[in-house]
């Protein structure tokens, strides 16, 4: 709020030909502060991964940024030339991916993969980079790093590979780490370990983290603030406490209700949000959630709600919560 390291303003991303673009992100607004962990939640297709990829300028070649801005420490990234981007990626902004099984090159030793950004960004010699890579492996909790550094990825377990990914991403001590569902492919005990590791690293390096997930457990565990996304927009923005205790947006409420809890009765049927996420080529007008919304109002299918402050540090884009609804109706 006071010192954002990354600000995404009204970001629009479209797929397909210039003449018939399909909008995937339709004005995303979010910001993350130095040393803060921002959770990005939503169903598949809500645009959370795409926002992260856009922030790294790693969009697939069929997609392009059609509007808005991405500001990292005052530098505009949306129009940044490739050379400058290469100097930023892995150095000041890093990313880890969902699938640790595929995110490491199978024919390259893990040590060489960790050393690569060190050599590029910090200009270390082969020997110095190797020494740093061993330190990195050690710091992410891989036992026997002197031996492990010469391993190929197939010689490691999924959890270890994700640790290697984190070691690689944090090798140059970046200021921002984007983690795209880093624990989805891991089993629960390993998930907890990886989240602990991320939190420890966040403290140690004063690291800002954007964590993308559809798991509220992960959010509760690690995030300071949460942005809920739907249909290519942020629909609710809240501190992690407020999101669980004072949920505002009908979609967030629906998501939370659909999360199983330990106190739940055994025969209890898990509530679901009716319908499915609309396809990006077929987004309803107005608020994209209105066809599935239990609190639909007449204006919802005509006007797009904007994020409005409903409580300190909590903003919601919903006509049913809007203080301006009297004027709009």
């Amino acid at each position: 709020m006071n010192n954002p390291i990354l600000t995404i303003h009204d970001l629009k991303v479209a797929f397909g030909p210039q003449t018939a673009p399909v909008d995937a992100l339709r004005g995303v607004n979010l910001s993350v502060n130095r040393g803060e962990c921002l959770g990005l939640v939503g169903e598949s297709g809500s645009g959370k991964s795409l926002s992260a990829l856009a922030a790294m300028r790693l969009l697939p070649s069929a997609a392009r940024i059609t509007g808005g801005s991405i500001t990292f420490e005052g530098r505009e990234m949306a129009t940044m030339p490739r050379k400058e981007l290469e100097g930023l990626r892995g150095n000041e902004i890093s990313m880890i991916f969902q699938e640790p099984m595929t995110a490491l090159n199978p024919v390259m030793r893990v040590g060489d993969q960790i050393a690569a950004p060190l050599r590029k960004h910090l200009g270390l010699s082969k020997k110095a980079a190797r020494a740093r890579a061993i330190e990195q492996l050690d710091s992410v909790g891989i036992p026997d790093p002197h031996r492990r550094i010469d391993n190929f990825p197939h010689e490691m377990s999924g959890g270890m590979r994700q640790r290697v990914m984190i070691a690689m991403a944090l090798a140059c001590e970046p200021k921002l780490l984007i983690a795209d569902e880093p624990t989805t492919a891991l089993d629960v005990t390993i998930q907890a370990q990886i989240l602990d590791l991320l939190r420890a690293k966040q403290k140690e390096l004063d690291l800002a983290i954007i964590i993308i997930t559809h798991d509220f457990g992960v959010v509760a565990e690690i995030a300071d603030r949460v942005n809920v996304m739907y249909g290519g927009r942020v629909v609710e923005e809240a501190g992690v406490g407020a999101l669980f205790d004072n949920t505002q947006h009908p979609y967030s409420i629906g998501l939370l209700n659909a999360t199983p809890t330990i106190e739940m009765e055994q025969q209890h049927r898990l509530p679901a949000i009716g319908g499915a996420v609309p396809h990006i080529s077929d987004m309803p007008a107005g608020c994209s959630f209105h066809p599935r919304c239990p609190e639909r109002r007449p204006e919802c299918d005509r006007l797009v709600p904007q994020l409005e402050t409903v409580a300190p540090h909590q903003r919601v884009a919903c006509w049913a919560r809007s203080t301006a609804d009297e004027q709009a109706a």
């Binding site: 790693l58 981007l85 990626r89 995110a103 199978p106």
Partner: protein
């Protein structure tokens, strides 16, 4: 089991050939260009191991000398084609968009000609000769290398580690070189091996129709060419040069197949 015998045979044959090509000068019993009119069209003997042709030249020495040219073109042309083709194919796959569209359409255009016809076309434009022959053959092989490397690189491009490498700030050329190429090397090595055999065959074909090595310099192709003209004088030059071509091409094909069985992770080795 039979496979193993063939593979062993191919490796032994090719190793022998390699030795003959490299040390040919010391092994040749006669000067391959020396004519001897008192010894025309002879059969095999202690002096002339594989007989002589209608100029009285030693067939064994000529085939040996010809092997150097055939093998040089057979190795150099696919190698040039591999370097150019793989560069174009991986670049196209990696960057996508217009680069890929243009490269693909050009490949389709080149593919629509038979490689041999393409070779004839290039030689017709540049004139016959060894260098032009190599250019012609590599030109004919380039589209297949583009196509294979592009297809393989496209699937590797989707892998997480390529995105991860880019996310770590690795520049494009380095990502292609360190992450894409090593992961598509298997099929490319197999194809290069098989195309070496084909390049030798194409050299022979083009020389046979008079577009390759010019006499008196021997190549396998033109030994067959002039041997066939004199087939009733002595069938031996055409026969043995043809045999050399057949065995060499066959050996490279067997070797290529064997490599494929070992390098392709989707095929289990029997």
């Amino acid at each position: 089991m039979l496979d193993r015998i063939f593979i062993t045979f191919a490796i032994i044959f090719l190793s022998m050939l390699a030795i003959l090509v490299v040390f040919g000068d010391f092994i040749q019993p006669h000067d391959p260009l020396l004519q001897n009119f008192r010894a025309r069209d002879q059969g095999p003997s202690a002096t002339y191991w594989l007989g002589t042709d209608d100029f009285g030249r030693d067939v064994f020495s000529r085939i040996l000398e010809g092997s150097r040219l055939s093998m040089t073109i057979g190795l150099v042309a696919p190698l040039i084609a591999a370097i150019v083709g793989i560069t174009m194919g991986t670049t196209a796959a990696y960057f996508g968009g217009w680069t890929e569209r243009i490269v693909s359409r050009v490949t389709d255009m080149m593919m629509s000609f038979d490689p041999l016809l393409l070779g004839v076309l290039v030689v017709a434009l540049l004139g016959p000769g060894i260098v032009n022959l190599s250019i012609a053959i590599s030109f004919a092989l380039i589209p297949s290398f583009i196509r294979l490397s592009r297809a393989s690189a496209l699937s590797v491009r989707q892998e997480g580690y390529v995105d991860a490498a880019i996310a770590m700030g690795r520049p494009s050329y380095s990502t292609i070189l360190r992450h894409v190429l090593p992961n598509i090397a298997g099929p490319l090595v197999v194809m290069t091996t098989i195309w070496i055999g084909s390049a030798i065959r194409m050299e022979a074909t083009l020389s046979f129709i008079g577009l390759g090595a010019q006499p008196p310099a021997p190549s396998w192709g033109n030994i067959v060419r002039y041997g066939v003209q004199n087939i009733f004088g002595s069938p031996l030059p055409a026969l043995f040069a043809g045999l050399a071509i057949t065995l060499t091409v066959l050996s490279f094909n067997i070797l290529g197949d064997a490599l494929r069985d070992r390098l392709d992770p989707d095929r289990t080795v029997r």
